[in-house]
Amino acid sequence: MTQVVLFNIFNGLIVGAFYALMALGLSLILNLSGVINFAHGGFLAVGGYLAFVLIPYIGFWGALLLSPLLVALIGLLIERVLIRRLYGRDPLYGLLLTFGLAFIFEDGTRFIWGPQSLPFQVPSWLVTPLSPDYFFVTGYRLFMVLVVAIAVVGLFLILSRTRLGMRIRAGTLDLETVSVLGVNVRILRNLNFGLGVYLAGLAGVLAVGQLGLQPTIGSSLIMPSFVAIIVGGLGSLPGTLLGGLLIGVASGVTTVYFPSATEAVIYVMMALVLLVRPRGLLGEEGRF
């Protein structure tokens, strides 16, 4: 029994790490630009499929590096052409536009690569279990956790140590003042969008190794990412990270005792958080 519980907690942590990675990207974009990016799941799927295409040419490691960058590039382009027009307008329009993009991404990947699940090869030495007792601790899973950890640490370093990160943080608090101080806000938002989408692409490459490659992978991961943001607290990136891990573990544990509520439990958690602490666990008071 302990083994089963441990297995599911571990599983939950991994799933939670995905949610967190997705949600951090969403949070970055939401905080600076006020746009909920429904297409985030679409970017994730594109990241996975691009990696699938790239692996025969440059191998798994090359794809892991290159695919998220390509996704970020697509993100920069889409922000430049479409999303930029929506800043300052009713948030409704941002929702609808990215919603439409999500449809296009999902259907587009289905059109190009087909609706069926595709095999995704990860290096074989990563797949073998590390110990016979804890069969579930495969190298790939540890590897995923490691990559997510590196990405998260990297993100927080960028935000706290670089000029770009400083500007993003300042812009989140008061974009007008940042603009008056001579920072090109358009470019800042563009880069910030790219950064958020990069995280989605990275999550995509990692996720397909675990969950399989299919067009609906994005839409199945996006709602929990919303919940992660709400539970963690809007406007707080550490909160988002915490929220993602928490809901991941919660659904993992629920799988043991009440498997049919695996998905629903995170929404119950969200309801509880909203009831007790409407701003979220680490959210700032009065932001929304």
Binding site: F99, F103, E106, S219, F226, L274, F288
Partner: protein, 318 residues
């Protein structure tokens, strides 16, 4: 009476005439009656959403949940409890409205995108219940094995099952009642207060209006009528599946409202009609209709944000 009022009256007359005569003119232009019923039902859903979206200024992206609850409430009542169409519709409305009333206090203090995010996430709870609770809801395959029941009026029995026109007129009667109530509410002091909140929430608060309570009431009214639409939708198809609860359905309602014109009473109905016809056409033409619907979303946002009626109105002014 000035010119604008006359125009409004004329528009109302035209809308009602078109709706009343639908079973006669729709087949003549290449449609079929179920398509008309679909447009009216989804139009009712979009108009109910617009009560909140357009007239209270609250961005709900989770209305599919209450639409789906109405649908499941109705379907399960006929299948398991009591084979009567009116009772089933009532149960559907009660289930949807009750859920909305209970969830309301958790969300009414939130605003803008945050409200949208929370409403859409809450909708997922009901989706997963319907999806997972196989033995009762039929799971992913949907709930089948039931049909809408004949209407017993005491003096006559109307067969709405094998007669699409009769069902259409049942839909139209309930649509008329719902729309009438909403129009009456919007003209009442309550409705004017909602518009005041939309225009300037802070000012409304300073005037001593209990804003959160008003938003809660508007939310419940809106969800009540959307669950009526859900009930009618389930009866129309003699079928309900979890997709009626899925978050993409909520997006469809919002795009219908925006497409028709959020600032006008009839706008969402027109948006729903256009959307239904377009979806019917696209899904018969191509497997990739989702891409086209997505493209449609993008184009509306970029080039047509005021919707059909907003566009016409602006043309008329300039």
């Amino acid at each position: 009476m000035n010119g604008v009022d006359v125009n409004k009256q004329a528009a109302n007359v035209v809308v009602w005439l078109l709706l009343l005569a639908m079973p006669y003119w729709l087949p003549a232009v290449g449609g079929y009656i179920e398509l008309g019923s679909r447009a009216v039902v989804l139009g009712l859903a979009a108009m109910s959403l617009n009560f909140l979206l357009g007239y209270t200024g609250v961005l709900s992206f989770g209305h599919a949940a209450y639409f789906g609850l109405g649908a499941y409430g109705t379907a399960m009542t006929i299948k398991y409890l009591y084979p009567s169409t009116p009772v089933a519709i009532l149960v559907g409305i009660v289930v949807g409205t009750l859920a909305a009333a209970l969830i309301g206090p958790l969300i009414i203090r939130l605003r803008g995108v945050y409200f949208a995010m929370v409403t859409i996430a809450f909708g997922q709870v009901f989706f997963f219940i319907a999806f997972r609770w196989n033995s009762v809801t039929g799971g992913d395959d949907g709930l089948t094995g039931w049909t809408r029941q004949p209407l017993h009026l005491g003096f006559a029995t109307i067969n709405i099952q094998n007669n699409p026109s009769a069902y259409y007129y049942l839909v139209l009667v309930l649509f008329t009642v719902a729309v009438g109530v909403m129009a009456w509410l919007l003209r009442s002091p309550f409705g004017r207060t909602l518009i005041a909140i939309r225009e300037n929430e802070r000012r409304a608060r300073f005037l001593g209006i209990p804003v959160d309570q008003h938003i809660w009431m508007s939310w419940v009214v809106s969800c009540c009528f959307v669950s009526l639409a859900g009930a009618l939708y389930a009866l129309l198809n003699n079928f309900v599946d979890p997709r009626a609860l899925y978050w993409t359905q909520s997006g469809d309602f919002v795009i219908m409202a925006v497409l028709g014109g959020m600032r006008s009473f009839w706008g969402p109905l027109i948006g729903a009609a256009i959307y239904v016809v377009l979806q019917d056409y696209l899904s018969s033409q191509t497997e990739n209709w989702m891409s086209f619907i997505g493209l449609f979303f993008v184009l509306i946002v970029l080039f047509f944000p005021r919707g059909v009626l907003g566009f016409i109105r602006r043309k008329a002014v300039s």
